[in-house]
Symmetry: C2
Subunit: 189 residues, 2 copies
Amino acid sequence: MEQIRQIMKQMISISGDELNEFLNQTITKTFKREETLSRPNSIPNEIYFINKGLIRTLITDNEGSEHTIHFALENQFIADYSNFIQKQPSLYTLKTVEETQVIVLPRSAIEWGYENLTDGQKMGRLIAEFYFIYQDDRIKNTYVRTPKQRYDNITDVFPNIHNRVPQHMIASYLGITAVHLSRLKKLQF
Amino acid sequence: MEQIRQIMKQMISISGDELNEFLNQTITKTFKREETLSRPNSIPNEIYFINKGLIRTLITDNEGSEHTIHFALENQFIADYSNFIQKQPSLYTLKTVEETQVIVLPRSAIEWGYENLTDGQKMGRLIAEFYFIYQDDRIKNTYVRTPKQRYDNITDVFPNIHNRVPQHMIASYLGITAVHLSRLKKLQF
DNA sequence: AGAAAATCTAAACATTTGTTATCGTTTCAA
DNA sequence: TTGAAACGATAACAAATGTTTAGATTTTCT
């Protein structure tokens, strides 16, 4: 539990007692490679904190093909946050890429935190702001950068990703086909 | 000021006194058509609430061409929120499309709200969550919908946009050229 | 260790999207 | 009010990206 304590302490002022009471409402789980944490058509009621491993968010379109929408690494929170907030059925699948250990934060713990932690609402604001900034950056890049440029800079956001994720998932994240990415890699610029 | 009062009351519990004290720190401004509210390379220190009118966010790429990233309508908050949060120089331009009246919320008022409004942090969380959900939806659509499908559904997010904004700006928002959008419109599906 | 599956590259061809130029219409500003 | 600029459609051609198939290599699972 040391990692999440440190991350939370970096975000807000929180006492050891508050941290304990909050983390007592969570459980730690381990998933094997390619296991599913969350499926479409169910309402997401959990947020995950990754102790170790790598999780991928994907969406399946009407033709049945999968699109990787996001990667989540160690020391990050991950969820179908939109549908968690809206209490609506998810369209996303959350799946491990490699063996992954997570801390499961159930909705009850999150809501308890908002009400009872001194800086609970602030922590919620900071997490939402963090992901807003990430998404804004991402959207901006689709307008002003080519797929090749986005590929060349992907390790800024996902360090070491090339050694942990097959290339076709990166292509999917970039919004292009695996074949096309393979072609782009040959280009000098 | 009636609109922003109503919107804020819908989001959080806030007394009339709190509202008055908060709104006393704001000013109302009117901009003509195609006027600039915020420019690149300066740190954004204001959030705007639109009483009437329409604002467009755009980014200029290295080749000098403009990309419309967002439209903001009546009763919405708008800013270069990422760089407002990060206190970093903006890459965006905020420009009115038509004559627009806004309430200007300076950074000082926002920070005062976080500290002094009973539900200040919660309001910040809800706004960040709202825009997170909007962006998530947008990113999702780029993966699973064609430009034509996104065009056909744009009024879900921006009602009446076709009567207020020239088509080439919509094309830009969709990430395609104006010529291509004109072509797509002829297609049945 | 060995068989099956996954991965990456490559080439040929198809489709989508961008670019440039033109034209008629509408909108805007002096 | 009028001339200039902006706008939207269209066509021809160019560039980017997708699709299918194949083959060689690596990884995974038993």
